[in-house]
């Protein structure tokens, strides 16, 4: 479904991804964990075309977003096809990135109408159904500035779902939230996992990763150090590397 093969990425002199390969199957929930600076967010951003890779290949649903050209340099898909391909991906950001000048409802309807050319009625029905799903129907006409962080993040999840992505990505979705608000967002993600949605979650929430993810990928210094079923990677027989990381993360 989603595949990164030997992806390299540097910011200036600093190598952030040093040959990362990951694979996400349909219906799978993958948690990517690791310290700050391990490259986990950069990997997710590369897969969502928010960063350009310096080398390697990324495939979404069998189609190459980027692949090495004849000279080995990465070649991206052409603009029009690229946009169509990226519609298969949905993304939820750490700081929500809702449109502050739109009401909650319009945050959800505008992208559907502008990008998917849905009618106002259709977009509205979809939006209201998804707001109900994240428990925010009654906030449809509020502006994002009047919502709590947890509510904003749930709206952002609903907005991403409005576009019917095949793969939903989360970039540290709870890092800006206090523990209580974190729980309300995590329970929404947990509900999505139960629907067997394909999801990639970059997170610091170790308990959440163990409970919800099918697979956990642990990254360190721009490399995948561990990749396996959540119970194995985070379970009783977890490795030294995970123990050290978890110690720092107050596990």
């Amino acid at each position: 479904m989603l595949q990164a093969i030997n992806v390299h990425k540097s910011f200036g002199e600093t190598g952030v991804l040093k040959g990362v390969s990951v694979r996400v199957s349909r219906g799978e929930v993958v948690a990517i964990i690791g310290r700050s600076g391990s490259g986990k967010s950069t990997l997710l951003r590369c897969m969502n075309n928010l960063e350009t890779v310096d080398g390697g290949e990324i495939r979404i649903g069998g189609e190459a977003l980027v692949s090495p050209g004849p000279d080995g340099k990465p070649v991206y898909k052409k603009d029009g096809e690229l946009r169509a391909l990226m519609l298969k991906m949905g993304m939820v950001f750490q700081d929500y990135n809702l449109f502050p000048h739109y009401s909650v409802l319009r945050n959800l309807t505008a992208p559907q109408m502008l990008v998917l050319k849905r009618s106002a009625k259709e977009a509205r029905e979809k939006a209201m159904a998804l707001l109900a799903k994240v428990g925010l129907e009654e906030k449809a006409n509020e502006y994002p500035c009047n919502l709590s962080g947890g509510q904003c993040q749930r709206v952002a999840i609903a907005r991403a779902l409005c576009m019917d992505p095949e793969i939903l990505c989360f970039d540290e979705p709870t890092s800006a939230l206090d523990p209580q608000l974190t729980q309300e967002v995590l329970s929404v993600i947990r509900a999505l996992a139960e629907e067997k949605r394909t999801m990639v979650v970059v997170t610091h929430e170790m308990n959440f990763a163990r409970d919800v993810a099918d697979r956990v990928i642990y990254m360190e210094n721009g490399l995948v150090v561990e990749d396996g079923p959540a119970q194995e990677v985070l379970g009783a027989n977890r490795s030294e590397a995970i123990r050290a990381f978890a110690g720092e993360a107050n596990y």
Binding site: N48, L50, R83, M91, F93, P111, Y143, A160
Partner: protein
Amino acid sequence: MRYFNNPEAFMKLMASMQSGIVATLTIFFATLIFSIPLGMVIALLRMNRRRIISLPVSLYILVMRGTPLMLQIFAIYFAIPMLTGTNLNRMTATILAFSLNYAAYFAEIFRGGIMAIPVGQHEACQVLGFTKTQTFFHVVLPQVVKRVLLPVSNEVITLVKDTSLANIIAVGELFRAAKNEASRTASVEPLFVAGLFYLLMNGVVTLVFSYLTRRMDYYKD
């Protein structure tokens, strides 16, 4: 006191300055209509990644902001006929000079406003599949308007007073009308009357902008 305590004389003075007021309002509105869209275009060109585009635009902004508007009015009024051989109407030359000059100031205000939009807004648009044009018109521009209202109001207030510079090429605007009236009647009072007019206009400008600010208050960033 010749006018302020004599309503009949005051009305006469008003009548003689009427065409000046019309000319001033013409310069004012025409400049706004042309310079605001032009300023937005210049701002976007200035932000273009290719230096071959952004560099000449920076130079344009430097010249327009770095030399007196009075000189620019002169230059356009006298240089264009010399270069093209066609005569330029005084009012047209004035509006052209004002628009080009104010567009440079507006461009920098708009550029500041566009740069202040968090990168996350662009990223959200990108992952939702917006085109660049959709991103600009539906997400960036509406938020820029709110952010630039205050600095733009400053420029508009300055513009009201700057219209008086048009008298340098003998455009019969308000200040020139007042000056003529002052020398004809050997009294400074017409100049003060003109001053009151500029003040009144800026009172209206202030009201309009505080209305717009309130209109944009429905959300916070």
